[in-house]
Amino acid sequence: MSNFLALARRELGVYFVSPMAYIILTALLVVAGLVFVFSVSAAAAERLPADYAPTLQWTCVVVALTSALVTMRTVAEEKSRGTIEIVLTAPVTEAQFVLAKFAAAMVLLSYLLAVTAGFALILSRYGQVDWGAVACGYLGVLLVGAVTYSAGIFISSLCTSQITAGVVTFALVILLMMANLGGLFLGPESAVAPFLQAVSLTENFGDFLKGVIDTGRLVTLLGVAAFFLFLAVRVVQSRRWR
């Protein structure tokens, strides 16, 4: 456990000594901030109650699209710099190595979301905020982040170049977001359509946005994240045998 915490702390440190955390935070605040202002003023003009859902939705989109930036260096950089050799010859297991990276990325995400939650606080000063729905929405963003980050770490474990890892992760995240469109395109009689609908990040996030925690959605997102992490651990382990 001490190992794991030491590794995770180092990983987290890297995000903040490089400009990455600040770039993502800026992107998030700009996009979510604009959406927040537009959605609230639009609602005010129509004399409708303010809706926090668009802000959450766009927060989720930015988190998913920037996950390549967060995760591309994780394993690929250790491989290209050779530092993987000093970590994995210390008494550290491959699972600790991978999970520490995931944990650090999730702590970073929680930090980013905590900052954007400021918009909800602003809203609460002038009107009614359904805190349950907001919390549920943020949980959804965290879960979507868990999926895209674990996918990114898996891709990074396959690559030696950060750039390759970043590009491939970005493409994979887009595919995961749009899988539901593929399902619609194939039509209801296709065998893969239900699967595509089930793994689509957009579909999965929709319920959380409505303030509903569906066990099926929860299990799907956590399962997909666990699956990618498992693959990443296996890939890192496989280097010993190649």
Partner: protein, 314 residues
């Protein structure tokens, strides 16, 4: 103690380590010697549990590298080739982190880090960011990391590569120090390097262990046919002819230098004709200026052993 039996490692299309067996005893400084690509780093990576062997076995400090890998890792300090470091960290921050993941108890961590910094002479640079250190200083950070958890066995892959002569001497001194209490296995493709610190040399060539022993042993074993250098005064032609008739002499090369004649006497297998040469010269009244057995340097041995097959056959 390191024990390696029939170690074999193949990458797709390449055999990196070919049935290598050796032992390094406790408290011994052993050196891997071989040209680049001879399998030194691969063997070290197997010993440090970074890679698994294709077949064969290796045990370090009595633990098997495959089945008891965590036990091995706790007892080994390793400096990989090219000394990879987390360069964005500060020296003491990095060493504290490394001590922690290597299982140094929290209470001992600060003291251990202080000790190793002192030992490698980095105390004044403890607050520096590793990125900003010179290559020599970074190498010391790597060495400090290798010994921060007080390992029984230290494995150093090319510890002096890229350092200037002063730094090389310092590192060599440090390795000698380490060898007093620990088992050290280091690698190099520079001979003088290994000859100076290691009591035992293991020569690898194209994945095979071609020789092992002390530098003298290796040279002695390889040189079945010796060579004697003689410098004498007298009639050169007569000396040459007389020498050639001596038992144990295969061939004489005469080098006329006026008054003083030089001879390179190639001996027959296993023969040492020095006494005969002395008596011959003394009897004929030729003054001997020099009579010496030419010892093959490790350098010569190395080039013979690691020569590509075509050249070795010649």
């Amino acid at each position: 103690m390191i024990e390696v039996k029939d170690l074999f490692k193949a990458y797709p299309g390449v055999v990196a380590v070919d049935r290598v067996s050796f032992r390094v005893e406790r408290g011994e400084i052993a050196g891997f010697l071989g040209p680049n690509g001879a399998g030194k780093s691969t063997t070290m990576r197997i010993l440090t549990c970074f890679l698994a062997p294709t077949s064969g076995s290796a045990s370090v400090a009595g633990f098997d590298v495959l089945r008891q890998s965590m036990e091995v890792r706790r007892r080994v300090g390793y400096l990989p080739e090219n000394n990879p470091l987390y360069t964005e960290m500060r020296v003491e921050e990095y060493l504290r982190f490394r001590a922690r993941i290597k299982g140094v108890a929290r209470a001992d961590r600060e003291r251990r880090v202080g000790e190793v910094l002192e030992r490698v002479g980095l105390s004044e640079r403890r607050r520096s960011i590793i990125q900003n250190l010179s290559k020599g200083l970074r190498q010391r950070v790597g060495l400090a990391d290798a010994i921060v958890h007080g390992p029984e066995i230290v494995i150093l892959d090319e510890p002096t590569i890229g350092l200037d002569p002063t730094q090389v001497r310092e590192v060599r001194e440090l390795i000698r120090e380490l060898g007093k209490e620990r088992t050290v296995l280091l690698s190099s493709h520079i001979l003088s390097e290994v000859e100076k610190v290691c009591r035992r040399v293991l020569i690898l060539s194209r994945g095979r262990l071609v020789e092992q022993g002390t530098p003298e042993e290796i040279a002695g074993r390889l040189v079945r046919t010796g060579r004697v250098r003689l410098e004498a005064r007298g009639d050169g032609r007569a000396i040459k002819e007389a020498l050639e008739k001596l038992p144990g002499v295969a061939h004489v090369i005469w080098e006329n230098r006026g008054e003083l004649h030089g001879f390179a006497v190639q001996c027959a297998d296993g023969a040492d004709p020095r006494a005969g040469i002395f008596q011959l010269c003394a009897g004929k009244g030729w003054t001997i200026q020099e009579l010496a057995w030419e010892r093959l340097s490790l350098e010569d041995v190395f080039s013979i052993l690691t020569a590509p097959p075509a050249e070795a056959a010649r």
